[in-house]
């Protein structure tokens, strides 16, 4: 299912170009908020990075789940012997690939437009991005399924997802700020623990709840 989704997303391109463009515009617009030559704080830069990622997340999962609505392929999946959790896992994995791809564009933009050149530890930064992305795609893949199938629910994803993501985004911002050369944060491991717990809780919840959410007919 992942290869099918990637093939469909890349065949018309809009499913990945839109989130990348939106994120880049966001970074660019925020860069205009500071006077020329003045550096944006590491915490502000990390906030903008995760905000751009969150918007990309919503677009990515709306696109991924809308694939199954054309010609009602979702009905075909519901009738198949495949456990519905496979759909959640596949969409989450595809979403992770697309989100990482978008972040490949966001991060250089953060360095160029927001002047963040003092990355303390690249490997740790990659670890933080993967840890926070895990939580993001776990929630995105669960709620993306809720928002599909009914026109009135199109806006539901963004309404429901942002309040839920607050603890994860806070963790991402604090850890990101530290790794972008901001002030030492002694509670870094606690934030990593929060991000890990968030990912674990929503992965568990999704595995239990997804069949009920997706099966609504």
């Amino acid at each position: 299912m992942t290869s099918k989704d990637l093939k469909l997303i890349f065949s018309d391109g809009s499913g990945i170009i839109q989130p990348i463009l939106l994120g880049l515009i966001l970074v660019f617009v925020f860069s205009l908020s500071t006077p020329i030559g003045e550096e944006v704080s590491a915490q502000a830069a990390a906030s903008i990075f995760w905000l751009a990622t969150s918007f990309a997340l919503i677009l990515v999962f709306n696109t991924l789940y809308s694939i199954e609505e054309t010609n009602q392929a979702r009905t075909g999946l519901l009738l198949s012997p495949m456990p519905l959790q496979h759909v959640w896992i596949s969409k989450a994995f595809t979403g992770l690939i697309l989100l990482l791809l978008a972040q490949l564009f966001f991060f250089p933009a953060i360095i160029v437009f927001l002047g963040q050149e003092n990355v303390a530890d690249w490997w740790a930064l990659l670890g933080v991005i993967l840890l926070v992305d895990w939580g993001l795609v776990a929630v995105g893949s669960l709620l993306g399924a809720v928002s599909q199938g009914h026109a009135s629910r199109d806006s539901l994803l963004s309404v429901v997802i942002f309040p839920l993501l607050i603890p994860l985004l806070l963790a991402g911002i604090r850890m990101g700020a530290h790794l972008l050369g901001g002030a030492d944060d002694e509670s870094l491991s606690s934030w990593a623990g929060i991000a890990f717990s968030f990912g674990a809780v929503f992965t568990g919840a999704a595995i239990i709840l997804f069949p009920f959410v997706y099966n609504e007919y």
């Binding site: 093939k7 010609n71 009905t75 999946l77 198949s80 012997p81």
Partner: protein, 233 residues
């Protein structure tokens, strides 16, 4: 041995049993007390006027929705059941071949390219195997959907007006393949709006009208009961 309470019909050789099934959408009654048995090697027509609940009944039979009341007993595993309806389940951004390979994987079937090409050949789409399904006409998409169904070699085949919008050749092909499936041992349930045309293919018929099962029995009984009256559907 289960008894179909509506018809008094006994059988233990069945794939699906519905007993006094009633369904509501919110507070609105769709139908009540529908009972039937679906046996192997039979073709059952589901007929009735618009809004009689034919598609709802098919959704209950397929397991997509649970009835508000009554018993639904399935004896056929999911990987041996196939559905062909107005919606083709076709991914328009994928080629015909990729569509078929995807559904084969979803149903845990091991199919190589040659086998997929053979199936596409059966439905007259071999020449279009590598073309995106998004460029297909309604008839071609439905043929691709038929290839998906044939690939599954189902024991239980649900057809919800599959002939809608098809040209005469495609309709003929559809009828031919469905007849072959039934002769091969599958049970076929078919929602039909062209009763006069489809009645000769079927063994049994369930007619829904006025929110209830107006008739359930053999097509011969149905024909003799309605001889000279025509069918309202």
């Amino acid at each position: 041995m289960p008894l179909n309470t509506q018809t008094g019909y006994f059988s233990d050789n069945y794939l699906l049993r519905l007993d006094r099934v009633t369904h509501f959408f919110d507070q609105r009654l769709v139908f009540k007390d529908v009972s039937l048995l679906i046996e192997p090697r039979t073709v059952t027509l589901v007929a009735g006027p618009n809004g009689a609940g034919k598609t709802t009944l098919m959704n209950i039979m397929s397991g997509l929705i649970s009835p508000s009341k009554g018993l639904v007993e399935h004896k056929v595993p999911r990987d041996k059941m196939a559905f062909l309806g107005h919606n083709t389940f076709v991914y328009s951004g994928l080629s015909a071949l990729d569509n078929l390979k995807f559904w084969a994987k979803v149903y845990y079937r091991r199919l190589d390219d040659d086998e997929c090409m053979q199936l596409l050949s059966l439905v007259g789409l071999k020449a279009f195997a590598h073309e995106k399904a998004g460029f297909f006409s309604r008839g071609m998409s439905q043929r691709l959907s038929l290839a998906r169904v044939l690939m599954l070699r189902p024991d239980f085949l649900l057809l919800d007006e599959p002939g809608t919008g098809l040209d005469p050749d495609s309709r003929k092909l559809l009828r031919e393949k469905i007849t072959q499936s039934a002769q091969g041992g599958a049970a076929v349930v078919w929602v039909s709006h062209t009763l006069e045309e489809d009645l000769d293919l079927a063994d049994k018929i369930i007619f829904l009208e006025n929110k209830k099962q107006a008739f359930y029995g053999t097509t011969r009984d149905f024909s003799s009961r309605h001889q000279g009256k025509g069918f309202e559907h």
